[in-house]
Symmetry: none
Subunit: 229 residues, 2 copies
DNA sequence: CCTGCAGTTGACCAACACATCAACACATGT
DNA sequence: ACATGTGTTGATGTGTTGGTCAACTGCAGG
């Protein structure tokens, strides 16, 4: 399947130029002229990569990245003018993956896009199927198994388990988990979290006093166990 | 402490130019004129970042990265001529972190160096494990081990031990520790501190008269020992 | 319309961590 | 030896945290 690229720039000249070139390179191109529009497109089309002009009216590039990163880890390459170069650091802080200065050679853009896509693809590959301690979670099939037996989870339960397993034995603080759930459209209050952890333990067949999967770390949060002692 | 940068290039002109510039930017600079020499320096000096010219006699940049990655994850920024640009992909495959094409602006080099250092620093932070004298404390896992054995600590005990280990052998005044605990929501009176220090010593299996871990500095406070005398 | 499920919430209880005190033992520096 | 700082101990009270439950909402399918 073709790679989807979202081009975000306020000048239509740049949009069409990039669009033409990238199309000729077998990319599927979407365009947006400001941050708000871009966020909508991200929601509906889930592009694989975003090319983002930092200087924009309405919502500028920094605000856009901040918003984007609340709910998505789609890679971003910033496009900047030369005098802004030092501001790029701020973009990196907010979660951009690379940058390129105008005017740039198309060859260089391509190389950087491929490098970024390679990096994130490698990451996704790594986490396509999380299998820890007898529990396996397939992200693409949205499916959880204990050994061979299929375990039926609600969307929220799945989401929480995914967070825990992605962390691979690291402790997740309750507050962080709440934040993440909220950014995904759930209420995410701590009492809600408690209930769903309980349901997960029930469905996974876990024992509170001697947990094999989800362990409580008092005063901190939860962790998915990697080893059974 | 200053950041160590290793510059690998076969032309002495480039080496001195980069060296001068980076020194002026508060980096400590090491140089090598070919891959073999560079590997030796990596061994002995463990630089924080490597600037690598791809075109070199003897051992070229690709071979160098391949060798390097067998034993180290030090970040690498490749330096290439424009015609080689497409080959950069190969460099990324072998484990390089970024690249820049000659001729480049010093500003851009700086930005990319900072970005790469930031990325790897973030990673290290994530897996930060304080390991001193047989005791290892993992912040992300919220876990303390003595050798392999897991040691169960309460949140406050964990916090105090973290403070001591972060200080790495420096003495912490009782008053300072109290302050810090208070700012973190604990009562933190000095008499309470004593109790928790005692509990820590118990759990770590420490001997008061011949402490291996937490030493009392009379009239001042406590220190975590780095070596056992 | 009813049913059932997902998500949410607040109340309740149990387990736990923390603070504090008192009384004494011990160690340290002058 | 003395004064003072530090460690040990147990008992006790308190506040916090986490688990459980039951009840409510909102929504989708039959």
């Amino acid at each position: 399947m073709a790679t989807n690229v979202l081009v975000v720039d306020d000048t239509s000249n740049v949009r069409t130029m990039l669009s033409d070139f990238l199309s000729s390179q077998q990319f599927t191109v979407l365009t947006a002229s400001d941050g708000r529009e871009a966020l909508d497109i991200v929601q509906s089309d889930k592009p694989d990569l975003i090319l983002l002009d930092i200087m924009m009216p309405n919502m500028d590039g920094y605000q856009f990245i901040t918003q984007l990163r609340r709910s998505s880890s789609i890679p971003v390459i910033m496009i900047t003018a030369r005098q802004q170069e030092m501001d790029v650091i701020r973009g990196f802080d907010l979660g951009a993956d690379d940058y390129i200065t105008k005017p740039f050679r198309m060859k260089e853009l391509l190389v950087r896009m491929r490098a970024v896509l390679r990096r994130t693809a490698a990451q996704e590959q790594e986490n396509a199927i999380l299998s820890i301690n007898g529990i396996s979670l397939s992200r693409s099939r949205h499916e959880v198994r204990k050994g061979d037996a299929l375990i039926d989870l609600t969307p929220l339960e799945f989401h929480i388990l995914e967070m825990l397993m992605l962390a691979r034995g690291k402790v997740l603080r309750r507050a962080d988990m709440s934040m993440k759930l909220m950014s995904n459209g759930y209420a995410g209050s701590e009492s809600t979290l408690k209930i769903h952890i309980r349901n997960l333990r029930l469905k996974l067949g876990d024992d509170l006093n001697l947990p094999r999967y989800i362990e409580t770390v008092f005063g901190v949060g939860y962790r998915f166990l990697e080893e059974t002692p």
